[in-house]
Symmetry: C2
Subunit: 192 residues, 2 copies
DNA sequence: TGAATAAAGCAAACTCTTTGCGTTTGTCAT
DNA sequence: ATGACAAACGCAAAGAGTTTGCTTTATTCA
């Protein structure tokens, strides 16, 4: 039951998709996750339930599809002048978004999706962002740790805490992760 | 729809729970996640569907309940003589388990659970294990980094990769995370 | 042992999901 | 432009899962 990538992106298909997504977003604002139903969404979007079932498979995949969009931050990360600053700025905003009630729900929805490809896509967002910050740091003349280290040192702990131990997903800890990750390679960057 | 903690743990209740869990495990061995149904499980367990619905709420919570048990490794972590060795031994086994098909499914099931308390419980397993290894290291005379660092440095990246980028959840990377985490504090352990 | 009550069984009502078939509507080639 | 083709949707009925009120069973506690 994979989600069909718009084979036919023209008019109606796109309109339906947008209407359904919109309906989900509106209903999510008013209802708990397990009060949501496909028929409800269908009615609000002005389509029949079978359309939704055929296209998305089931409710979980649909809400995951909507949520993963929400997670893609549209605007470029702020340029604070240093990698440390950029990481902090981005991380703080990300944390704030994800500890919020809608943020947590979005996380849940994505994690609940059977489609692992979607989960991966969602994490690619963070990764490509790290790449961007990394490149920016280099063009400034900094000597940042490799992207992999940024992910393991900053993104991973943050994500881990968000998923498993929300209370410790704080800006204070974020600062610590950043410090730790950047400090680490200072004396000798080389790693085979 | 929280799972009721056995208010009345005596005979029948426990028997039903065990029968249902067992039925889930058996059926999981033969069927895909989305071929599983509550009525099916109920029949196999010799109970009525309503029993399951009243006790677990829905299929997701039930399978999550079963999976979280599977994730608790029952036996003590091997003592290899050093913290680095212990971490590696544990991590390798954990990785192996979690990249497997049933392991990935268990992970998915737990993540899909609406009950965040259960997710937290599942991560407590790793944390208490880190504590155990940490204490063991101390009693050996080693000077290990704080538990928090073990989690952020080893468990978090491992979990992150397992969830989002399975292919990079390898023993080789595990080694790197361990090295990195243990090396880091060598020169000066103090952090306010 | 007996009263109180949690938990399970049963069955009917209800809601969601699936599916076949006909219709609409983009898409592509002529 | 125009017509053939195929994708996506609507409709409605059949099928399956879920919820709920009431009854029965069996554990707990006095």
């Amino acid at each position: 039951m994979a989600i069909k990538e718009a084979v036919r992106p023209g008019g109606r298909s796109a309109r339906v998709q947008e209407a359904v997504h919109q309906a989900v977003r509106e209903l999510q604002a008013v209802k708990t996750r397990d009060e949501l139903t496909v028929p409800q969404i269908a009615e609000r979007a002005g389509v029949t339930p079978s359309t939704i079932y055929r296209r998305w498979g089931n409710l979980s995949e649909l809400v995951a599809d909507v949520s993963v969009e929400r997670m893609r931050s549209d605007d470029d990360p702020a340029d604070t002048g240093t990698l440390a600053g950029d990481l902090l700025a981005w991380g703080q905003q990300y944390l704030e978004e994800m500890v919020s009630v809608p943020g947590q729900r979005a996380l849940n929805d994505v994690m609940a999706s059977a489609d692992s490809e979607r989960r991966e896509r969602c994490c690619r967002y963070s990764e490509s962002l790290m790449e961007a910050l990394h490149d920016r740091a280099i063009s400034r003349g900094e000597t940042p740790p490799p992207v992999r280290r940024l992910i393991d040192g900053v993104v991973a702990p943050m994500t881990y805490r968000l998923l498993y131990d929300r209370d410790s997903a704080t800006a204070h800890n974020l600062q610590r992760w950043i410090d730790c990750t950047l400090k680490e390679g200072e004396s000798g960057v080389a790693s085979h």
